[in-house]
Symmetry: C2
Subunit: 338 residues, 2 copies
Amino acid sequence: MKTYRVAVVGAMGAVGTEMIKTLEQRAYPVSELVPLDIPANEGKTVKWKGQDVKVRVAKEGAFAGVDVALFSAGADASLALAPIAAREGAIVVDNSSAWRMDPAVPLVVPEVNPEALDAHKGIIANPNCSTIQMLVALKPIHDAYRIQRIVVSTYQAISGTGAAAIAELGAQARAWVSGGKIENSVYPRQILFNVLPHIDVFLENDYTKEEMKMVHETHKIMDPNIQVNPTAVRIPVFRGHSESINIQTEKAFSVAQVRALLEKAPGVKVMDDPSKLVYPTPLDADGKDEVYVGRLRADPTVPNGLNLWVVSDNLRKGAALNAVQIAETLVSRGLLGK
Amino acid sequence: MKTYRVAVVGAMGAVGTEMIKTLEQRAYPVSELVPLDIPANEGKTVKWKGQDVKVRVAKEGAFAGVDVALFSAGADASLALAPIAAREGAIVVDNSSAWRMDPAVPLVVPEVNPEALDAHKGIIANPNCSTIQMLVALKPIHDAYRIQRIVVSTYQAISGTGAAAIAELGAQARAWVSGGKIENSVYPRQILFNVLPHIDVFLENDYTKEEMKMVHETHKIMDPNIQVNPTAVRIPVFRGHSESINIQTEKAFSVAQVRALLEKAPGVKVMDDPSKLVYPTPLDADGKDEVYVGRLRADPTVPNGLNLWVVSDNLRKGAALNAVQIAETLVSRGLLGK
């Protein structure tokens, strides 16, 4: 079997760590793993198949001989480094928001629009976590019944912010238990036992950037005709984003038909039996690959209305797994190592 | 000034404790406070204006001479005891769901429908916490622009479940910090660092009872013509319910007009300046009387669409305060001590 040199940029971060784990778990055909990070992390090690592999500095020259580079280093680093990596011959799969809306860059959820990869020019963008899980759940419904409008409110885990946020929530929990002072620096307010209706920066239209990502990315990945009305909210959960989604479709459906569609949809696991208290929660999705769907029920307040509750591990399907699946699809579509 | 004998039934519970505190804070004209609870709590004491007052047993005969009885003892106790209390001459303000949909029982949010009190027959119902804060925020908008449809997703604090849930979340936090086993008995799953799309029991239509309360109570209190599509979700927050609300109105409005309306609305505090990171969170509302509104923004996906983020202390305005305000309104409308 052909194997590939795979770089992970931001290898010491929350998503980078998960990318390396996911590459190993899914037996991606790696000939050499190249962990890259900022100079401060040079010489530290990551675990790869039981071995310690030294982290090198992510910079010009580091991508020579690399076939595919999974980036999770933030938008600024990606803007600077992704074109360099591509020029040095790597195909970049970037997890930041830097390239997502660039018309020359495919924005891909493999279950939704794998064919968009064929037109890549060296950089491919991984969508935002909250968009990915929503579209994996909605794609089969859209194909069958044409979604016209989405109203979505999110319940997003703090690991989406990164390792510093994970540390902050843990530190706040310890301070609360010990009766110490609860301090915050990553978030503008305490996140422990609190809720912030604020993810990423506020834009001129009073939506946050996170919310507008869900609008624009849905249009680019699935269908520009779908109306998307999002509210993005941070809650004190470590891993696993949840979404309360209300949709209206053009064509009529029964809930049983939708359930049957979702039960055979790739990447989806239906977890929906309220009478037995079966519904997905973030802890059910923690460390799992699937997008979980529950609380399926008709919304009788509009024609063809439906509610769903969609949960997925934001570091897996929402980031690392989707990036690795893109790398897998590059292989299966014959786009890698050409 | 005329004063009244006021009983609090469920005086040792989370809401009962808050009711007593609220009566004192708002200087309700109390001649005697009569704390009542289950036999197991007989002889325990509650604090009232610096004094210890002994808890008596809530039973037949306990309401003789009582002018107004604030009940927060659960639906079963209320079904049994409220008619007895009314027969003994007290006006009952009941916080449970037992009487809310009874056509003979007024269901009242004083900012929304105080006039409904005039027809009372001895029992008055306090609405569900999630309904109260939603309607306080939406009433001025409905009056001016006629709300046609509401899509609401809630982020509800565990104190709504009661004192046992408060203990459980605290115990889970201590177990998490000490590395011990996280146990659950109040909720069907761990609530610490988790989210449950499940409040109260599931009904035949796959909505929960909590969700359908928001539908039916909105119809009874504000307008039966409003379409309400709810999703009720429990999150790991001690106090303060948040709601992501999307509405569509019949008449056109500007966001500035809505903001101006809300700024002068009774019981509402607008907290909405995203560029300065001003938006309400549960910790902002903790212990406060107001219903906080933020994240006001147009929803361009439908004609006359609007999003709001509404936060309030579920034990205060969502329960104890609204009940005390009903008792105050009984005085101001001349309905007490007739």
